[in-house]
């Protein structure tokens, strides 16, 4: 379970995140929507413990991220917007390395199975990742996340730059993980994808969570209108 309690992050006078509280239960996918600078990535970074909050708290399965940073990371898998791997290592080696330093010792067949599960083509398994497309790298990232058997998944704009097919495959994988009881918090600009995969959607602006919906209670046009209204894009909303 991913929880934030009135979490605030300030950089001098600038408030990047203002008293954000949210709760993502196991088997839920929470999509954070918002323009650039709305505070989506700051939220993800705070939950990961990459940055310290000015006030408030982030919890993973009830444990404070800031007090038990390394301990809570055992339960977190993370896929950044632009996932970069070691270019001179193969997909298998990258997966083995990132899983291994996290404490997961996997055999060759287990590694292959994870890459198959992530949707990577088998002929790419033993190729160096320097020539991999963003979609292929994301798939290796997903394999790393699955290998970790994490209870919480944090995604920062994971589908940006992916072609529709790769984006669709990515969505399907998230649904699989959701079925396994993983709590997912995803920051995205992609309203369509959010509506398609999320169980809950939040719209952020200027570091504040302005609106929250249960995805099944709202249609895509309604979501789009709510988003544009929140952003004050009145002309577009009409």
């Amino acid at each position: 379970m991913i929880t934030t309690k009135k979490i605030t992050k300030k950089y001098g006078d600038f408030t990047a995140l203002d008293q954000l509280s949210l709760n993502v239960k196991p088997g839920e996918i929470y999509c954070l929507l918002g323009a650039n600078g709305a505070g989506k990535s700051t939220t993800i970074n705070l939950v990961l413990g990459f940055i310290n909050p000015t006030s408030g708290e982030a919890l993973i399965n009830g444990k404070s991220v800031f007090k038990n940073n390394i301990e809570t990371k055992k339960d977190i898998a993370y896929i950044p917007e632009n996932l970069m791997l070691y270019p001179t290592l193969t997909a298998m080696e990258n997966l083995d390395y990132f899983s291994g330093i996290g404490g997961q010792k996997l055999k060759k067949d287990q590694l292959e199975s994870l890459l198959i599960q992530s949707g990577l083509q088998p002929e790419a398994f033993y190729k160096r990742t320097n020539a991999f497309s963003k979609g292929m790298r994301q798939k290796v990232g997903i394999a790393i996340a699955i290998a970790k058997q994490a209870k919480a998944l944090l995604l920062d704009e994971p589908t940006s730059g992916l072609d529709p097919k790769a984006s669709n495959e990515f969505g399907e994988l998230l649904q699989e993980l959701k079925g396994n009881g993983v709590a997912t918090l995803m920051a995205t600009h992609d309203l369509f994808r959010a509506k398609e995969i999320a169980t809950h959607i939040g719209i952020m602006k200027s570091g504040k969570l302005k609106q929250q919906f249960t995805a099944s209670d709202i249609s895509l046009p309604q979501l789009e209108k709510a988003y544009l209204d929140t952003m004050n894009y009145k002309e577009l909303a009409k």
């Binding site: 413990g49 990459f50 940055i51 990371k73 993370y78 070691y86 404490g103 944090l154």
Partner: protein
């Protein structure tokens, strides 16, 4: 984490063309530098052998002449060359007072391109302390010698910096740091391990390069081999400590590179240079020209009153006056007496020269702790037998031997004895004894101490900082 870091860091290093190039460069530098050092040692050995050959040939001729004279043959020789005159033997058949190179001399030229390695002390010669320095090419003195010590002290830190300046910043700039930091690991520990593994890698390369260098030069000293490698590792430890500190404190690769190069300039160039300049100001050594001029003046004065000097000398040394009468006084009797007076009169100036050199060395020894480069250079010089202390030891031995040489002939001269083949067989022999007490490991402990200080400062700085992982990840 360590097993995976070790396995994959080695794979990454082996697959990096940049690292392959650096490794090759390291090997080439070691091999070339050791070859260069060996060439100098070979030249030094050849010079000593050549001088010894000349002396041996001369001895053989002299002995055959002596034996012929003793058999009653009349060779009709000039009194200035006849070997029955003790002074002629003392001047024309000197011994080679050589300082042979030790087996490890190839690794550090040290002071050996400034000082000579053999002298031929003559009974009527000047003070040999003044004749120890050799004519050397000013260009070579300016740039130093390209030996193993140069590669270790000056270039190895640059290779360490090139290997590890961007361990963390590279991850950040490539974009893989966040994925890495999302794993349940301490990034500081991860950086520490990565730098440790890179140090292990370079150590293996240095070991390989050292082995090749020693084998090519046919160096059989296993102790020397091990100690040289240990010195390199300890010195690298200091530089890796610095790169660790910079990696976790500073953000960008270019900044890291500049800061580390700054440290290199300070520790390798600035501190040694400043210590040298300040020691020149604090403890100036009288000029050699001044010494030589004063010596000439004193000699000139002494020559004017040689008869009086000889009388005084014989009064002070009645043992030499036993067979003395007016007819037996020769040029050499007066000359040798005047030499002693000249030496006594020059003593204050020589002492000042020696004292200031000693004070200066003491001061430099105190300040050597400021720079690991000085400590390692001094350590390698002492192991190679080319340190200032080694040459001072050699100079003292030459002074003692020249006195011994002179003392052997003085009674023969003043007793007007004929030099015989029996005297010839009893001529003093010079045997250089290296001073083992010069070599000790305290300088290497000093480098370890400096490394510890760097790491303690890093830890304290980190503890004092309120920002934690954030500063590393962003």
């Amino acid at each position: 984490m360590f097993t995976y870091n070790f396995k994959y860091e080695l794979k990454l290093l082996l697959r990096s063309s940049w690292i392959q190039l650096l490794t090759l460069l390291l090997l080439l530098l070691f091999v070339f530098a050791s070859y260069n050092g060996k060439q100098k040692v070979d030249k030094r050995t050849a010079d000593i052998t050549s001088a010894q050959t000349v002396v041996d040939t001369s001895d053989k001729e002299t002995l055959s002449i002596l034996l012929a004279i003793e058999k009653g043959e009349d060779l009709n020789l000039s009194p200035w060359v006849t070997p029955t005159s003790p002074i002629n033997i003392g001047n024309q058949n000197p011994r080679v007072a050589a300082m042979p190179a030790n087996e490890m001399a190839f690794m550090s030229v040290g002071q050996s391109d400034i000082y000579t390695h053999y002298v031929l002390p003559k009974v009527s010669g000047d003070d040999f302390a003044l004749n120890l320095s050799e004519m050397a090419s000013p260009i070579q003195l300016l740039f130093g010698s390209f030996d193993l010590a140069f590669v270790v002290v000056y270039l190895l830190p640059l290779i360490v910096i090139a290997f590890s300046y961007n361990v963390l910043s590279e991850e950040r700039e490539r974009g893989s740091l966040k994925l890495l930091a999302s794993q349940p690991i301490s990034i500081r520990k991860w950086v520490f391990q990565k730098i440790g593994i890179r140090m292990f890698w370079i150590s293996i390369m240095v070991l390989l390069a050292t082995t090749v260098a020693f084998l090519l030069n046919d160096i059989k000293s296993f102790d020397g081999y091990v100690l040289f490698f240990v010195t390199c590792v300890i010195y690298m430890l200091f530089w890796f400590g610095l790169t660790f500190a910079v990696n976790i404190q500073i953000g960008k690769s270019t900044q890291n590179a500049f800061v580390l190069l700054g440290f290199w300039i300070v520790f390798v160039l600035l501190i040694p240079s400043i210590i040298n300049q300040v020691s020149d100001v604090l403890y100036p050594v009288p000029s050699r020209n001044q010494l030589i001029n004063e010596m000439r003046e004193h000699k000139s004065e002494a020559e004017k009153k040689q008869d009086q000097i000889l009388d005084n000398f014989l009064r002070d040394h009645p043992e030499y006056a036993v067979n003395n009468d007016a007819n037996s006084k020769s040029f050499w009797h007066s000359y040798m007496a005047s030499q002693k007076i000249v030496k006594e009169e020059l003593q204050p100036l020589l002492s000042e020269f020696d004292n200031n050199l000693a004070k200066r060395q003491k001061w430099v020894n105190k300040l050597q702790w400021l720079s690991p480069a000085i400590l390692v250079q001094q350590d390698l010089n002492t192991r190679a037998g080319t340190s200032k202390a080694d040459y001072e030891n050699y100079r003292q031995q030459i002074l003692n031997f020249s006195n011994e040489w002179r003392d052997y002939f003085m009674p023969l001269l003043y007793n007007n004895q004929v030099f015989t083949s029996e005297h010839f067989s009893k001529l003093p022999i010079f045997q250089y004894k290296s001073d083992k007490s010069i070599i000790n490991g305290y300088r290497l402990w000093g480098v370890l101490l400096l490394t510890s200080i760097v790491l303690v400062i890093v830890i304290i700085t980190y503890k004092l900082r309120t920002k934690k992982e954030y500063s590393i990840i962003q």
